[in-house]
Protein backbone atom coordinates (compact mmCIF):
# COMPACT_ATOMS: atom_id res chain seq x y z
CA UNK A 1 0.00 0.00 0.00
CA UNK A 2 1.07 3.56 -0.55
CA UNK A 3 1.63 6.02 2.22
CA UNK A 4 0.09 9.45 1.94
CA UNK A 5 2.96 11.60 0.72
CA UNK A 6 4.15 9.60 -2.31
CA UNK A 7 0.48 9.46 -3.28
CA UNK A 8 0.29 13.25 -3.54
CA UNK A 9 3.34 13.30 -5.80
CA UNK A 10 1.92 10.53 -7.96
CA UNK A 11 -1.44 12.29 -8.14
CA UNK A 12 0.21 15.54 -9.18
CA UNK A 13 2.02 13.69 -11.95
CA UNK A 14 -1.17 11.90 -13.04
CA UNK A 15 -3.10 15.17 -13.27
CA UNK A 16 -0.28 17.02 -15.00
CA UNK A 17 0.02 14.35 -17.68
CA UNK A 18 -3.06 12.17 -17.69
CA UNK A 19 -2.53 9.08 -19.76
CA UNK A 20 -5.80 8.07 -21.43
CA UNK A 21 -7.87 11.09 -20.43
CA UNK A 22 -10.23 10.93 -17.49
CA UNK A 23 -10.51 7.14 -17.74
CA UNK A 24 -6.76 6.78 -17.33
CA UNK A 25 -6.73 9.39 -14.59
CA UNK A 26 -9.36 7.53 -12.55
CA UNK A 27 -7.53 4.23 -13.11
CA UNK A 28 -4.33 5.83 -11.85
CA UNK A 29 -6.18 7.37 -8.91
CA UNK A 30 -7.47 3.95 -7.88
CA UNK A 31 -4.11 2.29 -8.44
CA UNK A 32 -2.24 4.73 -6.18
CA UNK A 33 -5.01 5.14 -3.59
CA UNK A 34 -3.37 4.98 -0.11
CA UNK A 35 -4.68 2.54 2.45
CA UNK A 36 -6.11 5.27 4.65
CA UNK A 37 -8.02 6.84 1.78
CA UNK A 38 -8.24 10.45 0.71
CA UNK A 39 -10.65 13.25 -0.08
CA UNK A 40 -10.69 15.49 -3.15
CA UNK A 41 -12.56 18.80 -3.31
CA UNK A 42 -12.60 21.24 -6.18
CA UNK A 43 -12.26 24.86 -5.10
CA UNK A 44 -11.45 27.92 -7.21
CA UNK A 45 -9.69 26.19 -10.04
CA UNK A 46 -7.76 23.70 -7.93
CA UNK A 47 -8.21 20.22 -6.63
CA UNK A 48 -7.69 20.14 -2.87
CA UNK A 49 -6.30 16.79 -1.77
CA UNK A 50 -6.67 15.71 1.83
CA UNK A 51 -4.70 12.67 2.93
CA UNK A 52 -4.81 11.41 6.48
CA UNK A 53 -1.32 10.30 7.56
CA UNK A 54 -0.71 9.00 11.09
CA UNK A 55 -3.48 11.01 12.75
CA UNK A 56 -2.41 14.18 10.97
CA UNK A 57 -3.94 15.72 7.89
CA UNK A 58 -2.00 16.58 4.75
CA UNK A 59 -3.62 19.14 2.43
CA UNK A 60 -2.23 19.86 -1.02
CA UNK A 61 -3.67 21.74 -3.99
CA UNK A 62 -3.28 20.69 -7.62
CA UNK A 63 -4.64 22.69 -10.57
CA UNK A 64 -7.26 20.88 -12.66
CA UNK A 65 -10.16 22.20 -14.78
CA UNK A 66 -13.54 22.00 -13.11
CA UNK A 67 -15.08 20.04 -15.97
CA UNK A 68 -12.29 17.45 -15.77
CA UNK A 69 -12.79 17.11 -12.02
CA UNK A 70 -16.54 16.66 -12.54
CA UNK A 71 -15.86 14.07 -15.24
CA UNK A 72 -13.68 12.15 -12.77
CA UNK A 73 -16.64 12.10 -10.37
CA UNK A 74 -18.96 11.03 -13.19
CA UNK A 75 -16.53 8.21 -14.05
CA UNK A 76 -16.62 7.03 -10.43
CA UNK A 77 -20.44 7.12 -10.59
CA UNK A 78 -20.32 5.04 -13.79
CA UNK A 79 -18.00 2.48 -12.13
CA UNK A 80 -20.43 2.29 -9.19
CA UNK A 81 -23.30 1.68 -11.60
CA UNK A 82 -21.43 -1.22 -13.20
CA UNK A 83 -21.82 -3.12 -9.92
CA UNK A 84 -24.98 -5.27 -10.12
CA UNK A 85 -27.91 -3.93 -8.11
CA UNK A 86 -26.15 -0.62 -7.51
CA UNK A 87 -27.63 2.61 -8.79
CA UNK A 88 -26.16 5.97 -7.92
CA UNK A 89 -27.25 9.29 -9.29
CA UNK A 90 -24.80 11.24 -11.48
CA UNK A 91 -25.07 14.03 -8.88
CA UNK A 92 -23.96 12.12 -5.82
CA UNK A 93 -24.05 8.92 -3.86
CA UNK A 94 -22.15 6.30 -1.95
CA UNK A 95 -21.12 2.83 -3.10
CA UNK A 96 -18.53 0.07 -3.11
CA UNK A 97 -17.06 -0.74 -6.49
CA UNK A 98 -14.09 -2.32 -8.21
CA UNK A 99 -12.17 -1.73 -11.39
CA UNK A 100 -10.33 -4.23 -13.56
CA UNK A 101 -7.36 -1.87 -13.81
CA UNK A 102 -6.72 -2.19 -10.07
CA UNK A 103 -6.44 -5.97 -9.92
CA UNK A 104 -9.85 -6.33 -8.27
CA UNK A 105 -9.25 -4.04 -5.32
CA UNK A 106 -12.49 -2.75 -3.89
CA UNK A 107 -13.12 0.88 -2.99
CA UNK A 108 -15.74 2.76 -1.08
CA UNK A 109 -16.63 6.02 -2.76
CA UNK A 110 -18.75 8.87 -1.49
CA UNK A 111 -19.16 11.74 -3.89
CA UNK A 112 -21.11 14.91 -4.59
CA UNK A 113 -21.13 16.27 -8.12
CA UNK A 114 -23.42 19.29 -8.34
CA UNK A 115 -22.77 22.69 -9.79
CA UNK A 116 -22.06 24.16 -6.36
CA UNK A 117 -20.09 21.34 -4.76
CA UNK A 118 -17.69 18.72 -6.12
CA UNK A 119 -16.21 16.27 -3.67
CA UNK A 120 -14.91 12.71 -3.68
CA UNK A 121 -13.98 10.61 -0.67
CA UNK A 122 -12.34 7.34 -1.62
CA UNK A 123 -10.89 4.53 0.47
CA UNK A 124 -9.98 0.89 -0.23
CA UNK A 125 -12.22 -1.63 1.50
CA UNK A 126 -12.34 -5.41 1.91
CA UNK A 127 -14.04 -7.53 -0.68
CA UNK A 128 -17.86 -7.35 -0.36
CA UNK A 129 -19.65 -10.52 0.79
CA UNK A 130 -21.63 -10.87 -2.45
CA UNK A 131 -18.44 -10.86 -4.54
CA UNK A 132 -16.86 -13.52 -2.31
CA UNK A 133 -19.90 -15.77 -2.70
CA UNK A 134 -19.80 -15.39 -6.48
CA UNK A 135 -16.09 -16.35 -6.58
CA UNK A 136 -16.63 -19.39 -4.37
CA UNK A 137 -19.55 -20.74 -6.43
CA UNK A 138 -18.66 -24.27 -7.59
CA UNK A 139 -18.46 -24.99 -11.31
CA UNK A 140 -20.66 -27.88 -12.29
CA UNK A 141 -19.28 -30.54 -14.60
CA UNK A 142 -21.59 -31.73 -17.38
CA UNK A 143 -23.53 -34.95 -17.06
CA UNK A 144 -22.17 -37.84 -19.16
CA UNK A 145 -25.27 -40.06 -19.04
CA UNK A 146 -26.90 -39.29 -22.39
CA UNK A 147 -28.39 -42.70 -23.19
CA UNK A 148 -31.33 -41.68 -25.29
CA UNK A 149 -30.43 -38.30 -26.73
CA UNK A 150 -33.40 -37.74 -29.04
CA UNK A 151 -35.90 -38.64 -26.36
CA UNK A 152 -34.31 -36.26 -23.88
CA UNK A 153 -34.31 -33.36 -26.33
CA UNK A 154 -37.95 -33.96 -27.25
CA UNK A 155 -38.95 -33.88 -23.60
CA UNK A 156 -36.77 -30.81 -22.99
CA UNK A 157 -38.26 -29.00 -25.96
CA UNK A 158 -41.79 -29.83 -24.83
CA UNK A 159 -41.02 -28.46 -21.41
CA UNK A 160 -39.40 -25.24 -22.53
CA UNK A 161 -41.51 -24.04 -25.44
CA UNK A 162 -44.63 -22.99 -23.51
CA UNK A 163 -42.78 -21.07 -20.80
CA UNK A 164 -39.36 -19.50 -21.23
CA UNK A 165 -39.43 -18.02 -17.75
CA UNK A 166 -39.29 -21.39 -16.07
CA UNK A 167 -36.90 -20.93 -13.10
CA UNK A 168 -35.40 -24.36 -13.81
CA UNK A 169 -34.41 -23.16 -17.27
CA UNK A 170 -32.69 -20.13 -15.80
CA UNK A 171 -30.70 -22.29 -13.40
CA UNK A 172 -29.63 -24.55 -16.25
CA UNK A 173 -28.59 -21.57 -18.34
CA UNK A 174 -26.48 -20.13 -15.52
CA UNK A 175 -24.64 -23.41 -14.97
CA UNK A 176 -24.19 -23.86 -18.68
CA UNK A 177 -22.64 -20.42 -19.00
CA UNK A 178 -20.27 -21.00 -16.11
CA UNK A 179 -19.32 -24.33 -17.60
CA UNK A 180 -18.41 -22.65 -20.85
CA UNK A 181 -16.69 -19.61 -19.32
CA UNK A 182 -15.38 -20.54 -15.89
CA UNK A 183 -12.82 -17.75 -15.81
CA UNK A 184 -14.64 -14.92 -17.57
CA UNK A 185 -18.10 -15.15 -16.01
CA UNK A 186 -21.41 -15.50 -17.78
CA UNK A 187 -20.74 -14.56 -21.44
CA UNK A 188 -23.12 -16.45 -23.72
CA UNK A 189 -22.14 -17.94 -27.08
CA UNK A 190 -23.89 -16.83 -30.24
CA UNK A 191 -26.76 -18.94 -31.55
CA UNK A 192 -24.65 -20.22 -34.45
CA UNK A 193 -21.85 -21.22 -32.08
CA UNK A 194 -24.47 -23.02 -30.03
CA UNK A 195 -25.64 -24.80 -33.16
CA UNK A 196 -22.10 -26.02 -33.76
CA UNK A 197 -21.89 -27.21 -30.15
CA UNK A 198 -25.24 -28.98 -30.51
CA UNK A 199 -23.90 -30.79 -33.60
CA UNK A 200 -21.20 -32.30 -31.41
CA UNK A 201 -23.88 -33.78 -29.16
CA UNK A 202 -24.10 -31.07 -26.48
CA UNK A 203 -27.77 -31.23 -25.54
CA UNK A 204 -27.44 -28.19 -23.23
CA UNK A 205 -26.39 -26.11 -26.22
CA UNK A 206 -29.48 -27.25 -28.12
CA UNK A 207 -31.60 -26.47 -25.09
CA UNK A 208 -30.17 -22.95 -25.07
CA UNK A 209 -31.06 -22.52 -28.77
CA UNK A 210 -34.63 -23.54 -27.98
CA UNK A 211 -34.78 -21.15 -25.04
CA UNK A 212 -33.54 -18.24 -27.16
CA UNK A 213 -35.42 -18.78 -30.38
CA UNK A 214 -38.76 -20.25 -29.33
CA UNK A 215 -40.24 -16.90 -28.19
CA UNK A 216 -38.96 -15.25 -31.38
CA UNK A 217 -40.51 -17.95 -33.53
CA UNK A 218 -43.80 -17.97 -31.62
CA UNK A 219 -43.97 -14.20 -31.91
CA UNK A 220 -43.29 -14.30 -35.64
CA UNK A 221 -45.88 -17.00 -36.25
CA UNK A 222 -48.45 -15.12 -34.18
CA UNK A 223 -48.27 -12.02 -36.34
CA UNK A 224 -47.89 -13.78 -39.68
CA UNK A 225 -50.88 -14.56 -41.86
CA UNK A 226 -50.73 -18.19 -40.83
CA UNK A 227 -53.90 -19.25 -39.01
CA UNK A 228 -53.32 -22.01 -36.46
CA UNK A 229 -55.78 -24.89 -36.38
CA UNK A 230 -57.21 -26.99 -33.55
CA UNK A 231 -54.77 -29.80 -34.32
CA UNK A 232 -51.79 -27.55 -35.01
CA UNK A 233 -51.50 -24.52 -32.77
CA UNK A 234 -48.57 -22.11 -32.56
CA UNK A 235 -46.97 -24.07 -29.71
CA UNK A 236 -47.25 -27.25 -31.79
CA UNK A 237 -45.63 -25.55 -34.77
CA UNK A 238 -42.80 -24.21 -32.63
CA UNK A 239 -42.21 -27.59 -31.06
CA UNK A 240 -42.33 -29.33 -34.44
CA UNK A 241 -39.76 -26.86 -35.80
CA UNK A 242 -37.28 -27.57 -33.02
CA UNK A 243 -37.79 -31.33 -33.22
CA UNK A 244 -37.10 -31.15 -36.96
CA UNK A 245 -34.07 -28.98 -36.30
CA UNK A 246 -32.78 -31.55 -33.85
CA UNK A 247 -33.19 -34.37 -36.36
CA UNK A 248 -31.50 -32.30 -39.08
CA UNK A 249 -28.80 -30.66 -37.02
CA UNK A 250 -26.04 -31.81 -39.33
CA UNK A 251 -27.67 -30.78 -42.60
CA UNK A 252 -29.18 -27.42 -41.63
CA UNK A 253 -27.47 -24.60 -43.47
CA UNK A 254 -27.47 -21.41 -41.42
CA UNK A 255 -24.66 -18.89 -41.33
CA UNK A 256 -26.35 -16.50 -38.94
CA UNK A 257 -29.26 -16.32 -36.54
CA UNK A 258 -31.58 -14.79 -39.11
CA UNK A 259 -31.12 -17.71 -41.47
CA UNK A 260 -31.75 -20.17 -38.67
CA UNK A 261 -34.91 -18.31 -37.63
CA UNK A 262 -36.08 -18.26 -41.24
CA UNK A 263 -35.45 -22.00 -41.51
CA UNK A 264 -37.44 -22.68 -38.34
CA UNK A 265 -40.26 -20.45 -39.56
CA UNK A 266 -40.41 -22.32 -42.86
CA UNK A 267 -40.57 -25.66 -41.06
CA UNK A 268 -43.35 -24.39 -38.82
CA UNK A 269 -45.34 -23.19 -41.80
CA UNK A 270 -44.87 -26.46 -43.65
CA UNK A 271 -45.85 -28.40 -40.54
CA UNK A 272 -49.13 -26.50 -40.48
CA UNK A 273 -49.81 -27.11 -44.18
CA UNK A 274 -48.93 -30.80 -43.84
CA UNK A 275 -51.20 -31.11 -40.83
CA UNK A 276 -54.05 -29.38 -42.66
CA UNK A 277 -53.63 -31.58 -45.76
CA UNK A 278 -53.42 -34.86 -43.90
CA UNK A 279 -55.61 -34.12 -40.89
CA UNK A 280 -52.83 -35.47 -38.67
CA UNK A 281 -51.95 -33.52 -35.51
CA UNK A 282 -48.63 -31.67 -35.78
CA UNK A 283 -46.92 -33.79 -33.14
CA UNK A 284 -47.60 -36.96 -35.15
CA UNK A 285 -46.13 -35.64 -38.40
CA UNK A 286 -42.93 -37.16 -39.78
CA UNK A 287 -40.13 -35.46 -41.69
CA UNK A 288 -41.29 -36.95 -44.97
CA UNK A 289 -44.66 -35.23 -44.59
CA UNK A 290 -42.94 -31.86 -44.20
CA UNK A 291 -41.42 -31.02 -47.55
CA UNK A 292 -38.40 -28.89 -46.81
CA UNK A 293 -36.36 -29.29 -49.97
CA UNK A 294 -34.93 -25.96 -51.04
CA UNK A 295 -37.28 -23.96 -48.86
CA UNK A 296 -34.87 -22.04 -46.67
CA UNK A 297 -36.30 -18.57 -47.07
CA UNK A 298 -34.86 -15.19 -46.23
CA UNK A 299 -37.00 -13.37 -43.66
CA UNK A 300 -37.53 -10.40 -45.92
CA UNK A 301 -39.05 -12.59 -48.64
CA UNK A 302 -42.39 -12.37 -46.90
CA UNK A 303 -42.57 -8.79 -48.06
CA UNK A 304 -42.01 -9.52 -51.73
CA UNK A 305 -45.65 -10.01 -52.58
CA UNK A 306 -46.21 -7.10 -54.86
CA UNK A 307 -44.49 -4.33 -56.72
CA UNK A 308 -44.24 -2.00 -53.76
CA UNK A 309 -42.69 -4.63 -51.60
CA UNK A 310 -40.16 -5.35 -54.36
CA UNK A 311 -39.12 -1.69 -54.36
CA UNK A 312 -38.88 -1.84 -50.60
CA UNK A 313 -36.80 -5.00 -50.63
CA UNK A 314 -34.43 -3.60 -53.27
CA UNK A 315 -33.98 -0.41 -51.27
CA UNK A 316 -33.36 -2.34 -48.07
CA UNK A 317 -30.61 -4.28 -49.80
CA UNK A 318 -28.93 -0.99 -50.73
CA UNK A 319 -28.97 0.29 -47.15
CA UNK A 320 -25.80 0.22 -45.06
CA UNK A 321 -25.36 -3.08 -43.24
CA UNK A 322 -26.33 -1.79 -39.79
CA UNK A 323 -29.49 -0.11 -41.07
CA UNK A 324 -30.44 -3.30 -42.90
CA UNK A 325 -30.03 -5.37 -39.77
CA UNK A 326 -32.01 -2.96 -37.60
CA UNK A 327 -34.88 -2.64 -40.05
CA UNK A 328 -35.06 -6.41 -40.66
CA UNK A 329 -35.10 -7.26 -36.96
CA UNK A 330 -37.56 -4.47 -36.20
CA UNK A 331 -39.87 -5.60 -38.99
CA UNK A 332 -39.51 -9.35 -38.62
CA UNK A 333 -39.39 -9.76 -34.88
CA UNK A 334 -40.93 -6.57 -33.55
CA UNK A 335 -38.19 -6.32 -30.95
CA UNK A 336 -37.79 -3.12 -28.98
CA UNK A 337 -34.91 -0.84 -29.89
CA UNK A 338 -33.20 -1.75 -26.63
CA UNK A 339 -33.37 -5.45 -27.58
CA UNK A 340 -32.17 -4.72 -31.12
CA UNK A 341 -29.28 -2.70 -29.72
CA UNK A 342 -28.34 -5.51 -27.36
CA UNK A 343 -28.38 -8.05 -30.16
CA UNK A 344 -26.33 -5.96 -32.57
CA UNK A 345 -23.92 -4.61 -29.99
CA UNK A 346 -25.02 -0.99 -30.26
CA UNK A 347 -26.85 1.39 -28.00
CA UNK A 348 -30.63 1.77 -28.02
CA UNK A 349 -30.25 5.26 -29.42
CA UNK A 350 -28.04 4.06 -32.27
CA UNK A 351 -30.64 1.41 -33.10
CA UNK A 352 -33.33 4.08 -33.19
CA UNK A 353 -31.09 6.32 -35.26
CA UNK A 354 -30.38 3.55 -37.76
CA UNK A 355 -34.09 2.75 -38.04
CA UNK A 356 -34.85 6.44 -38.51
CA UNK A 357 -32.25 6.77 -41.25
CA UNK A 358 -33.41 3.56 -42.93
CA UNK A 359 -37.05 4.62 -42.89
CA UNK A 360 -36.10 7.95 -44.40
CA UNK A 361 -34.36 6.24 -47.30
CA UNK A 362 -37.17 3.73 -47.78
CA UNK A 363 -39.78 6.47 -47.85
CA UNK A 364 -37.69 8.47 -50.30
CA UNK A 365 -37.56 5.43 -52.59
CA UNK A 366 -41.28 4.73 -52.27
CA UNK A 367 -42.27 8.34 -52.84
CA UNK A 368 -41.12 7.97 -56.45
CA UNK A 369 -43.92 5.48 -57.04
CA UNK A 370 -47.26 6.91 -58.26
CA UNK A 371 -49.21 4.83 -55.70
CA UNK A 372 -47.13 6.05 -52.78
CA UNK A 373 -50.14 6.74 -50.53
CA UNK A 374 -51.43 3.18 -51.04
CA UNK A 375 -48.02 1.87 -50.11
CA UNK A 376 -48.07 3.80 -46.86
CA UNK A 377 -51.48 2.36 -46.01
CA UNK A 378 -50.28 -1.13 -46.85
CA UNK A 379 -47.13 -0.96 -44.78
CA UNK A 380 -48.34 1.11 -41.85
CA UNK A 381 -46.02 3.28 -39.83
CA UNK A 382 -43.49 0.51 -39.19
Amino acid sequence: MNSGLPFVGQLRAAIAQPNGGIVGLVDQLLAICPEQGFQLDWLNGSCRIQVFVAESEEVVEVAIPRSAFRAVLARVAALCNEVPQTAVSPYGGKCVFTNNATAKRYFQAEFTNTSGEQRLRLAPVGRPVAAKREAQMPIETPSQTDTNRAERIESTTAGIVPSTDDPQTKIKRGRWWRKRHPQNGPTPLSTIELLQEARTGDHLAFEEIVRRLSPVLANRLARSRIVPTAICGIDDMVQMSFMTLYRRLVSVRAENTHQLEAWLFTVARHALFASQRSGIPANKLTDSMIDLEGREAEPIENLRRDEFAAILAATINELPEQQQQVIRIRHNERLSFAEIGARLGMTEVMARWNAFQARGRLLAALKKHPDYNDVLQTLGRD
Binding site: G21, S67, S89, Y91, T114, E117, V349, W353, F356
Partner: protein
Protein backbone atom coordinates in the same frame (compact mmCIF):
# COMPACT_ATOMS: atom_id res chain seq x y z
CA UNK B 1 -19.50 16.07 -39.08
CA UNK B 2 -19.87 13.72 -36.13
CA UNK B 3 -23.01 12.65 -34.33
CA UNK B 4 -23.06 13.37 -30.61
CA UNK B 5 -25.51 12.28 -27.91
CA UNK B 6 -26.52 14.12 -24.76
CA UNK B 7 -28.69 12.29 -22.23
CA UNK B 8 -31.09 14.47 -20.24
CA UNK B 9 -34.81 14.93 -19.53
CA UNK B 10 -37.39 15.68 -22.21
CA UNK B 11 -38.05 19.23 -21.04
CA UNK B 12 -34.37 20.08 -20.99
CA UNK B 13 -33.83 18.36 -24.32
CA UNK B 14 -36.54 20.53 -25.89
CA UNK B 15 -34.91 23.64 -24.42
CA UNK B 16 -31.49 22.61 -25.69
CA UNK B 17 -32.86 21.93 -29.17
CA UNK B 18 -34.51 25.34 -29.24
CA UNK B 19 -31.78 27.49 -27.71
CA UNK B 20 -28.61 25.41 -27.58
CA UNK B 21 -26.71 24.46 -24.42
CA UNK B 22 -28.61 26.14 -21.63
CA UNK B 23 -26.75 28.84 -19.62
CA UNK B 24 -29.55 28.89 -17.03
CA UNK B 25 -29.36 25.14 -16.43
CA UNK B 26 -30.12 24.48 -12.76
CA UNK B 27 -28.75 21.32 -11.21
CA UNK B 28 -30.34 19.45 -8.30
CA UNK B 29 -29.99 21.29 -5.01
CA UNK B 30 -29.79 24.71 -6.68
CA UNK B 31 -32.55 27.30 -6.84
CA UNK B 32 -30.82 29.45 -9.40
CA UNK B 33 -27.63 29.00 -11.33
CA UNK B 34 -24.79 31.02 -9.83
CA UNK B 35 -23.50 33.62 -12.27
CA UNK B 36 -19.93 32.71 -11.44
CA UNK B 37 -20.41 29.12 -12.54
CA UNK B 38 -19.02 28.63 -16.04
CA UNK B 39 -21.26 26.92 -18.56
CA UNK B 40 -20.27 23.35 -19.45
CA UNK B 41 -21.90 20.99 -21.84
CA UNK B 42 -20.88 17.39 -22.20
CA UNK B 43 -21.85 14.89 -24.86
CA UNK B 44 -20.58 11.59 -26.12
CA UNK B 45 -19.64 10.19 -29.49
CA UNK B 46 -22.34 8.03 -31.07
CA UNK B 47 -20.17 4.95 -31.24
CA UNK B 48 -18.69 5.37 -27.79
CA UNK B 49 -16.85 4.27 -25.78
CA UNK B 50 -19.04 5.39 -22.88
CA UNK B 51 -16.79 5.70 -19.81
CA UNK B 52 -19.40 7.81 -18.01
CA UNK B 53 -22.26 5.45 -18.88
CA UNK B 54 -24.34 5.28 -22.03
CA UNK B 55 -26.44 8.35 -22.84
CA UNK B 56 -29.60 6.29 -22.27
CA UNK B 57 -28.38 5.26 -18.87
CA UNK B 58 -27.42 8.82 -18.04
CA UNK B 59 -30.81 10.13 -19.18
CA UNK B 60 -32.66 7.52 -17.14
CA UNK B 61 -30.67 8.28 -14.01
CA UNK B 62 -31.15 12.02 -14.46
CA UNK B 63 -34.89 11.64 -14.97
CA UNK B 64 -35.23 9.62 -11.75
CA UNK B 65 -33.88 12.47 -9.60
CA UNK B 66 -36.68 13.96 -7.51
CA UNK B 67 -36.25 17.50 -8.87
CA UNK B 68 -36.43 16.25 -12.48
CA UNK B 69 -39.33 13.83 -12.23
CA UNK B 70 -41.83 16.26 -13.72
CA UNK B 71 -39.66 16.93 -16.78
CA UNK B 72 -41.19 14.40 -19.16
CA UNK B 73 -38.90 11.44 -18.61
CA UNK B 74 -35.55 10.52 -20.16
CA UNK B 75 -34.58 11.77 -23.60
CA UNK B 76 -31.51 11.99 -25.80
CA UNK B 77 -30.48 15.00 -27.82
CA UNK B 78 -28.76 13.88 -31.02
CA UNK B 79 -26.83 16.52 -32.89
CA UNK B 80 -24.41 16.62 -35.74
CA UNK B 81 -21.40 18.79 -34.94
CA UNK B 82 -18.66 19.90 -37.38
CA UNK B 83 -15.41 18.09 -36.72
CA UNK B 84 -13.47 21.31 -36.25
CA UNK B 85 -15.75 22.30 -33.35
CA UNK B 86 -15.29 18.88 -31.78
CA UNK B 87 -11.54 19.22 -32.20
CA UNK B 88 -11.66 22.42 -30.13
CA UNK B 89 -13.22 20.46 -27.26
CA UNK B 90 -10.54 17.78 -27.22
CA UNK B 91 -7.92 18.10 -24.48
CA UNK B 92 -5.56 15.93 -22.45
CA UNK B 93 -8.42 15.15 -20.08
CA UNK B 94 -10.92 14.56 -22.88
CA UNK B 95 -9.15 12.95 -25.85
CA UNK B 96 -11.65 11.82 -28.48
CA UNK B 97 -10.57 8.23 -27.84
CA UNK B 98 -12.36 8.55 -24.49
CA UNK B 99 -15.70 9.02 -26.24
CA UNK B 100 -16.57 12.07 -24.12
CA UNK B 101 -16.77 15.49 -25.77
CA UNK B 102 -16.65 18.24 -23.16
CA UNK B 103 -17.58 21.69 -24.47
CA UNK B 104 -16.25 24.33 -22.10
CA UNK B 105 -15.90 28.06 -22.49
CA UNK B 106 -12.75 28.49 -24.52
CA UNK B 107 -12.96 24.89 -25.64
CA UNK B 108 -15.58 24.71 -28.35
CA UNK B 109 -18.62 25.83 -26.38
CA UNK B 110 -18.87 29.31 -27.89
CA UNK B 111 -18.47 27.90 -31.39
CA UNK B 112 -21.10 25.27 -30.67
CA UNK B 113 -23.59 27.85 -29.44
CA UNK B 114 -22.83 30.18 -32.33
CA UNK B 115 -23.52 27.44 -34.89
CA UNK B 116 -26.39 25.86 -33.01
CA UNK B 117 -29.12 27.13 -35.34
CA UNK B 118 -27.47 25.51 -38.36
CA UNK B 119 -26.66 22.20 -36.68
CA UNK B 120 -28.88 19.21 -37.46
CA UNK B 121 -30.45 18.00 -34.24
CA UNK B 122 -33.20 15.77 -32.98
CA UNK B 123 -34.72 14.53 -29.71
CA UNK B 124 -35.37 10.87 -29.01
CA UNK B 125 -37.64 10.33 -26.05
CA UNK B 126 -36.91 7.20 -24.06
CA UNK B 127 -40.08 7.40 -22.00
CA UNK B 128 -42.99 4.99 -22.38
CA UNK B 129 -45.52 6.24 -24.93
Amino acid sequence: MSILFHGTTLTRAARIIAHGPDPSFVEPGEVQRAKTQPLEFSACLAFGPFPLGTPEDYAHRKSRIAEYQSEGGPAIVIFDVPDDTIALAASVFFPLSCGVVQFDQGAGLDELRANWSTIKKRIISLGCP
